[in-house]
Amino acid sequence: MSVLINETSKVLVQGFTGSEGTFHAQQMIDYGTNVVGGVTPGKGGEKHLGKPVFNTVKDAKEATDANVSVIFVPPAFAADAIMEATDAGIPLIVTITEGIPTADMVKVKNFMHDKTSRLVGPNCPGVISPGFGKVGIMPGFIHSKGKIGIVSRSGTLTYEAVDQVTKVGLGQSTCIGIGGDPIIGTTTLDAVKLLMEDDETEGIIMIGEIGGNMEAEAARWIKDHATKPVVGFIAGQTAPKGRRMGHAGAIIGGKDDTAEAKMTIMKECGIRVVNSPAELGETMAKALNNKN
């Protein structure tokens, strides 16, 4: 089985009728994702891309039995959209929106901590399980159904890893883009745990970057719990201290934030760390061969 997305996934699009929402909803449908409708306040009752539009997430859930929501709402209103989906009891909320104020995400995290919904993102490419569908903005055609799980804070760098994994003939079980913001829902560790427990996943690629503690936290868990090989890469080995490298969360504050520190701890915990992002696919192929 894949994780997060499977044949029972019914996907709702928040910010459905906007330009981003429209474009990517169509792409998701074309890829075979079961998009059951969308939410745009004030446009309830209309049809868009052949699917029903609702005023509220609650209405949409009641009518369609949706269990996944993907959010394309602009940054100023995105936090509210996440909390609305949480309140409606949507189990999986994938937030693509980039540029949400940090203070809003502090509120979101606090709002969600005693609720059952899982948040992926924000500022992420989303989740894809080849064969079942994609919930996000990644190009579907580079993926192939297979046995490698990928967790990453980056968008295009994930595509790079996917492409390499496809080319060495392994394919992907599920790819989870967790997002580049300082406050995100599903962490590196959360995603690694899901993939480690997944029968279909035989190896995990973990792509991190400078800033924060998430990779170290995941590495420590992997040391004690790994049942399959993990290949890791940290982007930003050449990034200067104190400068934000595109992602709001990619900034070196202290010495634990550096790529070097993270790579060291990952190696100590038994992760196969590559220095070059060009070696992700081959390293995974070798790791699986050694195991078999």
Binding site: A103, K109, E160, P182, A239
Partner: protein, 395 residues
Amino acid sequence: MNIHEYQGKSILKSYKVPVPAGIVADTPEKAIEAARQVAEKTGCDTWAIKAQIHAGGRGKGGGVKIAKSLGEVETHAKSIIGMQLVTHQTGSEGKKVHRVLVEQGIFYPGPAEIQEFYMSVLLNRDSGKNIVMYSTEGGMDIETVAEKTPELIFKEEVDPGTGLLPFQARRIAFNLGLSGNAFKNMVKFVQSLYKAYEGADASLFEINPVMKTSDEKIIAADAKVNIDDNALFRHHDYADMRDLSEEDPAEVEAGKHGLNFVKLDGNVGCMVNGAGLAMATMDIIKLSGGDPANFLDVGGTANAQTTEAGFRIILKDKGVKAILINIFGGIVRCDRVAQGVVDAYKSIGNISVPVIVRLQGTNAEEGKKLIDNSGLKVFSAITLQEAADQVKSNI
């Protein structure tokens, strides 16, 4: 967004956080007038003259002076305004000082002992909550304190639902060893400071030092304030606080074209879509024996125009010996980027450094054909490893 001390203090003041009376001045004459007005308002007979640049360590570099007369105000203002101030944060070339903040002196004599504390408000990324970090060791570099005497640094985590609670403010004042009026003033100070942090959508407040004056007032003697860029849409009044002269001209230019650019010191320029891949591309340049000259994320909408703008910005750096363009097309179509490269060559003309273009993903083959058939001196690559090898053979 980084702002000047005087701007940060104006935000603090609007939330009733006590700051010294002060006026900003861009000439020595205005500095004297500012000093007069500050004295009239507060009765002070000393002033602090402080260089306003976006960097810490100003005092050690000679950018902060105490004046004991209006004559000294003039002397210090003359020496600071226009100086090239070098601190541990500016790099060896330093930063030009355009204005000074003239403030009331707060080291005046009185019955109580003068003390300096450290206080900052920032996000704890692990918990997703804000913390107030503080120490009895004010006026020093906090990283040094953290290394040598970590037991003297305290943290108070704030529940987002309630904000900083009164008992937490009292705990902070107790931990700083305060009593009497100073204790009461610190409790108020911390509560106002936290409200200001939330209200202003700040990403960092660092007040070093927080002063306890000889009459038991608690005052923010310095203020490093960063505002969350993502929240600027709801603070239009802060937009004017951005001082473009403090930023790298190439970065300002890139921002106008919607490009995310960070200037570095290396010899290989790069242009990439996506922040993670951009960092990874910098890393691969280093592994190939070069040094990245920049970080440049052209974003999710890269097209011919943005490609050309990126090219022009990278080429302004005379240290650049080669350029690596790395595009993984998803929504971005590689043939459009390739067209942008060809167009840029024609319109800029005479690009003398080798350019390596690696296109992968949507329409990559079409893009590669466009480049190969253009007759230009451009090296194309498909895999990341091929691109790395091309960099190696071209520097």
